[in-house]
Symmetry: C2
Subunit: 418 residues, 2 copies
């Protein structure tokens, strides 16, 4: 079968399945998820064997150690996947929730009810656990999912999806609910992105190049974030010990993720005291600094930052540092160089806290807390399918509700429009 | 200046303006809107003169009477535009509303606050009143707008926008808040749709061909509906007089709009009584029927519907009619041929009403009411910028809230992630 035809068949099957999924009672979905959680554990040996094929190929191709780490399934990562499914089963079902209802002067009762989006396409790179996570969140929210993982994880992804599909079959649920594109040919992605009549949403997860390509080609709405250039602004009135603690946590607790700190902005009235304190702690943790002229003056030996550094998502133990004249300059810097992801102010000044929350329109804006909290679990959404810096539909961490939309439901008794 | 450069400059100016607009107090926006409402009336003669140039050209080009009707500005339509602006001024400001807030176990206070989307591009056809309506809704919701109307209305659109911009200048608001693409060259649209870093949302309003072209070319998220193939299902238990009244209202009150009825589905146990009653009323109103075989049998002389008719948005005094065996067949028909716009059931059966509301996932689903209520004003949103059958972001009629997104705001006191 030609690739275009193959992808179309998958999409049609997904759309058919989505109509059944939309009407499923929560209990049925939850039982299937719990069963999937058990089956992943029961078939751990099979998963590891299939995964070994991918890992061997990755070594042959000379992929980096980090990449191979992300790709490798161990008993630990399989247990984590299984636990993830049990957690999703325990979350409240967003489907059918009536979020508001009001009466019109003519007696019509107008409400808004949450319904699944329909069919969701996930395009992702090497981490095979995304296969189970994304499938679980889509199933729970009543959506069919089409998974297109990286070629380096194809055997692992197929194996995981195979186990999930077997549970679908045994539970009497439509198999089209969870499908993996079986080919690694890139044409499959191009074809998938054309199917706007069959697929409702595309979520790309991976590097910026992958995501830009998807946005360019897609006729289907895409929710994405390109990168996370997150800022902390240490205000004049900040508790400086707190500022050091937050900076350290945001930069070093997990430097390779999108909500890690990339640029530190420091008020000019305190930088001479604060920066040496912060630099000492950062240096001990192995962080290299790139500074503005005032930073380099107070911290001799610091590499000078170039214009490019302010745009940079290092995803590494590197931090750009800039001294600013006031909160206005901090906000201007964030607007110019930021990525609409996550920004935090450290301050004891009530007015500055409120201004920062009002005027910085990134997807997550914090006062006196680490940027690392920009995460679906940490914010209490119960799950996370991704983070959006697209302002449409969802902005920031996306949980189950963000995988639904709302229709209007209207109870009348014969009203006509005049 | 080259067109690409010209459009980029407009978009940059809009983005700059949007940052100021986001922080404006409601009162400032409302005063500007009221001032614009007055200025449109004060300059009615100028508007009619500019509009006459468009109308003369349209006649020369041989545009249809309906098209010329839509294009023409009269004292009445100018008064209506002005009233529209005053109504928008009176609506509550969605910006800054905190829709929910909760405390996390670690003490973080997490909330969601409505903020403007940023820059909105509206691509529309001949009706110049859209220029004022869309500009007002965008300004009220704190968004900058870039308007690209049809070439046949270019003088009217420029004149309206010119008046609004003068008020912006006099009120000290950024002129980039409301801009019209000054050229009618199609390249301008192509260039505009590439500017994903400057424009946050595109709303196309017009024929299906225009909208499909926009979706194909755009890298910016698009909210749209292609067409409204709206259904009424007359259930076995329906109050037949009510069913006739609702059918008549939905089909004939304004046949050229997207929430008008296009296909009538009738339960087989009542069609022999209902259809002759309905046909009599419809015929009196000048409606032509296209029927399924059973319809044609009970209403001799009716033209037989083809498969194509079930997909058709007539926007005219034509109605497709199909007898179905039960509610399941009605729902299947709507899923297969519908456009996710608006569907209504006429029934006295409690269970069928609930099933229809649950299982039909169109953007507006009604019981015992006319499809014509699928409208931002009628549903109580206070305004309407368009109707979405895109399931992302907004689904159904879109008011001011749908021109905003929500950011997470977080109050902490030193929390770090562990």
């Amino acid at each position: 079968m030609e690739i275009a035809e193959q992808v179309l068949q998958i999409a049609k099957k997904a759309k058919e399945a989505s109509e059944k999924l939309a009407a499923l009672p929560s209990g049925v979905k939850d039982r299937a998820l719990l069963c999937m959680a058990e089956e992943l554990l029961a078939k751990a040996d099979f998963l590891k064997a299939e995964n070994a094929r991918d890992v061997a190929y990755a070594r042959e191709k000379g992929l980096s150690g980090t990449m191979i780490d992300r790709l490798t399934l161990t008993d630990g990562t399989i247990e984590a996947m299984s636990k993830g499914l049990r957690e999703v089963a325990a979350l409240p079902d967003p489907v059918g929730k009536i979020t508001s209802m009001w009466r019109r002067p003519n007696g019509l009762l107008v409400g808004r009810m949450r319904i699944p989006l329909g069919v969701i396409g996930i395009i992702y790179e090497s981490r095979p656990n995304v296969t189970a996570d994304a499938a679980a969140l889509c199933l729970k929210s009543g959506n069919a999912v089409i998974l297109r993982g990286g070629s380096e994880a194809i055997h692992s992804n197929r194996a995981i999806a195979g186990i999930l599909q077997e549970v679908l079959r045994e539970s009497g649920l439509p198999e089209g609910a969870i499908q993996v594109i079986p080919t690694t040919d890139r044409e499959a992605v191009t074809e998938m992105l054309k199917l706007e009549d069959h697929i409702d949403l595309i979520i790309p997860r991976g590097g910026e190049d992958l995501i830009r390509k998807v946005v360019e080609l897609s006729r289907i709405p895409v929710i994405k974030h390109y990168k996370g250039v997150c800022h902390i602004f240490v205000d004049e009135s900040a508790d400086l010990d707190m500022a050091v603690t937050l900076t350290m946590n945001a930069k070093t607790q997990r430097p390779g993720v999108c909500n890690a700190l990339e640029t530190l902005l420091v008020h000019r009235n305190i930088y001479e005291i604060f920066l040496p304190k912060a630099a000492e702690a950062l240096e001990r943790a192995g962080v290299t600094l790139r500074g503005c002229p005032r930073t380099c003056e107070i911290l001799p030996g610091t590499m000078e930052a170039t214009e490019k550094d302010w745009y940079e998502e290092y995803l590494d133990l590197i931090l750009a540092v800039r001294v600013v004249d006031d909160i206005d300059e901090a906000i201007r810097h964030i607007r110019k160089y930021g990525s609409l992801h996550t920004e935090s102010i450290v301050t004891t000044d009530y007015g500055h806290a409120q201004r920062f929350l009002q005027e910085v329109n990134s997807s997550t804006v914090l006062v006196n807390a680490s940027t690392r909290f920009s995460d679906g679990f940490e914010l209490g959404l119960g799950a996370e399918i991704g983070i959006s810096t697209t302002k449409l539909h969802a902005f920031g961490p996306m949980g189950l509700e963000e995988l639904t939309t709302q229709k209007f439901i209207i109870y009348g008794n014969g009203q006509v429009r005049t």
